[in-house]
């Protein structure tokens, strides 16, 4: 009984000092995170809510018209083309980036370690140049009368391609530039993942008699699964919401057929001055992005747990 009593008394004292300590630490921590909270709250959370409000206004922003902006958008063929093009663009570009990145990462991993740095440094250059500027270079290479790419094709007796003039070729061009810009990122991510697979696993597999393909199938891919899915989902978000490349290369043309959500929102909201409808176009991206983001977050959490 006596012991119990003293423990009880002692505990209440302990709680107060502990609370004081915790409170002071919380205050400091809160002050340190305050600028971050202001940035996230003021420049991300508030605009997000504000976007939803904006999207319910009419063009002059004096009247609330409910979901009519979304309804009008879904009534136009152009917007359907935007949805279609965004999906074609994002899915094919990400797929190609992932495959090329994976292949190159493997090739880099295969060559002697001392040459890897040099090659890696060279192959990452497309990612380093601001995309708006490198796309300018591509635009010039695609130029109908002076196309240096067509010149090379002609050398190999392939006829000239109307790169930016024909809708489908324009779509292909946009994808090519995005793949060119993004594949190095995948390569670097996969190379880092490859390097994190312990060498002993491969040695053990080799002793167990695994062929090169089996090693890839049973060791490399399972070990990299998480980082592959994180990278792919992350890139889907970024590519889906891409603006720079389409804006510089085609500016939505020909005949508005290469517009993606971002450029179309820009066109409608800023250039044509219909801010509410532009906001509505942007918000159409939100559900898809939310799904991708959910899976990225799950992948990252899972990875953390595995590493812990």
């Amino acid at each position: 009984m006596a012991a119990d009593g003293s423990v009880l008394v002692g505990r209440t004292e302990g709680v107060t000092s502990l609370q004081r300590f915790a409170r002071r630490r919380s205050t400091i921590a809160f002050l340190m995170t305050l600028p971050l909270i202001l940035v996230i709250g003021g420049l991300v959370a508030y605009p997000a809510v504000y976007a939803m409000y904006l999207s319910t206004l009419n063009r002059t922003m004096v009247r609330n018209i409910g979901l009519e902006n979304f309804a009008i958008l879904l009534d136009t063929d152009t917007f359907y083309m935007v949805i279609l093009q965004s999906c074609i663009f994002a899915i094919s570009a990400v797929l190609l980036k992932a495959l090329i990145g994976f292949w190159l990462a493997h090739m880099l991993h295969d060559i002697p370690a001392k040459g890897q740095r040099k090659w890696r440094g060279m192959l990452l250059i497309p990612w380093v140049i601001p995309p708006a500027l490198s796309t300018l270079g591509w635009w010039w290479m695609f130029d109908p009368s002076y196309s240096s790419i067509n010149y090379l094709l002609n050398v190999f007796a392939v006829p000239s391609v109307p790169w930016l003039g024909e809708p489908w070729w324009a779509r292909v061009s946009v994808i090519i530039v995005n793949v060119w810009y993004g594949a190095p990122f995948f390569m670097i991510m996969y190379l880092a993942a490859l390097k994190s697979v312990p060498e002993q696993l491969y040695e053990a597999a080799a002793i167990d008699g695994a062929t090169g393909f089996q090693r890839l199938r049973y060791i490399t891919l399972p070990m990299m699964r998480n980082i592959i899915s994180i990278t792919v989902l992350f890139s889907l978000i970024v590519t889906f919401a891409n603006y720079d490349i389409v804006r510089v290369l085609t500016n939505g043309g020909p005949r508005d057929l290469t517009h993606v959500f971002a450029t179309y929102a820009f066109q409608v909201g800023i250039l044509s001055g219909n801010v509410p409808r532009g906001a509505a176009v942007s918000l159409f991206m939100f559900p898809l992005l939310a799904i991708f983001a959910f899976f990225v977050l799950r992948g990252v959490t899972r990875r953390n747990k595995e590493e812990a």
Partner: protein, 298 residues
Amino acid sequence: MSTSTATREMPDIYHKAGSLSSERRWALWTAYISLIFAAIIFLAPPVYMFITSLKTSAEVANLTGSPWLVREPTLENYAAILGNPTFLVFFWNSVKITVCVVLITMVISTLAAFALARMRFWGSQALATGVFLTYLIPETLLFIPLYQIVGGLGLLNSSWGLVVVYPTLTVPFCTWIMIGYFASIPKELDEAALIDGASWSQMLLKIFIPVAMPGIIAATIFAFTVSWAAFVYPTAFVTTPDEMPLTIGVVSQLVRADTFAWGQIMAGALLAALPPVIVYAFLMDYYIAGLTAGATKG
């Protein structure tokens, strides 16, 4: 008996060894051919930009012969672009904006990351997740409401408006990777510092920042490259050339109806791309560490 077993086994061994090394050689060849092919394609656009930038307008317009060769290399495009006051204004704007944004970003994210990595407090876990989620929100989702907000602040057509909004691009990711770097510092180090008599601020300034220097550098590089390359916000918020940073300046102002200014355009684009490329060339390892940190450190 023994000789016969030997002769039966020997060729087998030799065959195995031979196939192993030839397999390796074949893999090496594939690797180098793939890498060379990739390098040619990856480097062709910047190289072609460079080639064009060395040509006179007349040579650019000349359709005979290979566009990949320079017959009369000239630096006149570079001289012209560097003598162009508009271009210099763009450059200055980019420098001004980037320096401010990098400073703001690093202060905000270092403080926040320290608090989130080391001081558990109410809501800290949710905030850390929130940071990551905001990193996943693309800029193109929110530029229209931000356009209204920046307009409301009277900062449209001002590079200061860009300084206000750019942190949405940089702060989440920088905070996220700094949390990772700080969390990887052994806990005993802060305990030792605590016993040695360090306050929270001393612990951050004298222990955490120096120990996590690679992370700080990686985050700084990231903030720098992102604000230098930002395109959506300046395109949306700035229409007066005097306030434009380089990216939109080069794309919108140099590209005019005058098609034969290609040499100058390419020279301008290359010069505009130079700062991030230089940073990359000198700090490649930090750059790559920062790039992969998002997924491997987080």
